[in-house]
């Protein structure tokens, strides 16, 4: 009886000691990992800041303008290039071929309102 309980306690002490150290080492390892990850997060954040700054630096309007001049065949948009949908001629209800056949060639076909265009929201057309 005596021996058995002593043995049991000794065993329990041994097991709990083992488990405790096991957990402790695991925690130490996890903490190392955490420190490492936090460090990487810090580094990553700093890299993002550097890249943000570089992005902004490379996107200086003066530089973009020069690059656009060199590589693109584009120019600043002028007011004449911008129009309203309502300024477009109205679409003929019949296809051009049919209209040409129906109307005598001397009389130009009168454009009439095409429902789709008439209800279309005014937008910017280049």
């Amino acid at each position: 009886m005596m021996r058995l309980s002593t043995l049991l306690w000794a065993l329990l002490v041994g097991v709990s000691g083992y488990v405790m150290f096991q957990v402790k080492y695991e925690v130490v390892q996890l903490e190392d990992q955490l420190t490492h990850l936090n460090h990487r997060i810090d580094t990553g954040r700093e890299q993002i800041r550097v890249l943000d700054a570089e992005w902004s630096f490379l996107n200086q309007p003066a530089r973009l303008e020069q690059l656009a001049k060199r590589f693109l065949d584009l120019q600043p948009i002028s007011a004449e290039q911008i129009g309203h949908l309502s300024q477009l001629p109205r679409r003929s209800p019949t296809p051009p071929a049919a209209a040409a056949a129906a109307a005598p060639p001397s009389a130009p076909s009168q454009p009439t309102a095409a429902p789709r265009l008439a209800t279309a929201r005014a937008g910017v057309v280049r």
Partner: protein, 583 residues
Amino acid sequence: MKPAVPPRDDNPCRPRHFKPEPCAPAPLEGPAKQSLETSHTRLLITGALLCLAFLVISARLIEVAGFKAGEAHIARVAPAERPDLARANIVDRNGVLLATTLEAPSLYADPKLIHNPERVAQQLASLLPDASESEIAAKLASNKGFVWIKRQLTPSQEFEVNRLGVPGLEFRTEGRRVYPKGNLTVHAVGYDDLDGKGLAGIERGFNDILRGRHEPVELSLDVRLQYILHHQIAQTIADFNAIGGMGIIMDVNTGEVLAMVSLPDFDPNAPGSATPQELFNRVTLGTYEMGSTFKIFNTALALETHTSTLSSSYDATKPLHIGRFTIHDDEPKNRWLTVPEIFEYSSNIGSARMAVAVGTDRQKEFLGRLGLLKAPSFELREIGAPMVPSPWGEINTMTIAFGHGISVSPLQMATAVSAVVNGGVLHRATLIKRPAGYAPSGQQVLSLKTSEEMRALLRLVVEHGTGKFADAPGYLVGGKTGTAEKVSAGRYERHGLLSSFVGVFPINEPRYLVMISIDEPHGNKQSHGFATGGWTAAPAVARVVERMAPLMGIQPVDEDSPEIRRSLVVDSQGPQGRKFAAD
């Protein structure tokens, strides 16, 4: 199991080999009894203490296991910023980065650990190009425990210094302020010193807010517009061989400053080499006699007080003599002019007569209401207070009518003109972005009717008057030219001009104000030798409008359409029976 206890022994815990001698219990007497009692007491106290200790341990166990389980040591993500580096970014209204803080290593030394200062100084001086050897040697030979050798090194310099392997040289990571857009936004954003303290611009005005804040500060600036304005002003300065220039783009309905340029400027990443002229913010700190652009206020005042109507006319047949002064027109018409004509041809004589009809007190009160007589409240600390005549006599009233004898900053000018055209509501100018859908509270400083009349008059100037070159077809620019002679050594310089144009578009429903002033332009071949606002600043404003209008989503309109015509009619009969519809 067979009981191993001898029948005489009543103690079950006694070891089997222990056989006590049978004896009769001795009666305890005297010292023996006393010592037994003492040990009893001691035993009792020890036991109680042990019990207490176990109780405490159990209580703690219950607490940890039962109640504190949720608060266990949980892994935490690193804090967002290192607190010593934290300074908020500055971005424009579209989130484009204007100022940020990057880590930079700074080199310091503990001179007590350095045994051979001369040699170390020589090595360091060869690695750090802008440091002098003697200076470093002096620092290293001092008795202090800490001296800065060089702040904010590049990564390669850091590597080289580390490779020297000199004990006593150490690095500390510091925050270095970086301005990726360089010169472009320098006078608005400002710059920092090495310790992260703002020395100018928003960096200075918002120093405490930026410190220790994580979210970026959003300015009202738009980098695209800033570039357009900067580019056009720089080009105009070059074209007319001027000494400087400034400009501002403002949202007339909120008071937000969308662009603000003062030239010459400097690179905020290297502010040490900037000259005082470059550091000077002409838009907010400089105050100038604005010249004829002030006729906007003079005319609005006369219309508002009903001392003039659009059909009133004034004698501009000959120069006006008052005391030892003579007021004359640049392009004299030598006849009676109506109010729209005075504005259109920018007649000083007519304007002065209009102001006299209004009177000094009402003029003073009106300019005060427009915020032109005291320093404005603004986010920057570089704010110039206007120079106002004192005493304010009739002669001052007359000269102020055409913008001489009073100096205001371009910022004040833009704020006040915005109020004149936007329906008469004065909004405080701001460099901070207003949230979407924000309805700014303003102060009604003049009537809607006067504001509408002023819009028509401003359009008249661009269609037929002195500001023809400001016309950007399709975008309905309205505006006013101004050419002021600069005061130098107490007298007006005939050739030191400040040529300005303040434009508003689309003038039938004003949204943006563009103002450009060129400092001391010289006429060139294209301008036939003219250096006035109409020849220098006005074309620059037109180019700015043409570039910015598509970006801001403003649809070009047909300027000859009846609705537009009707909205900009100036209802007046000129002396020749001409109708001042703006055509």
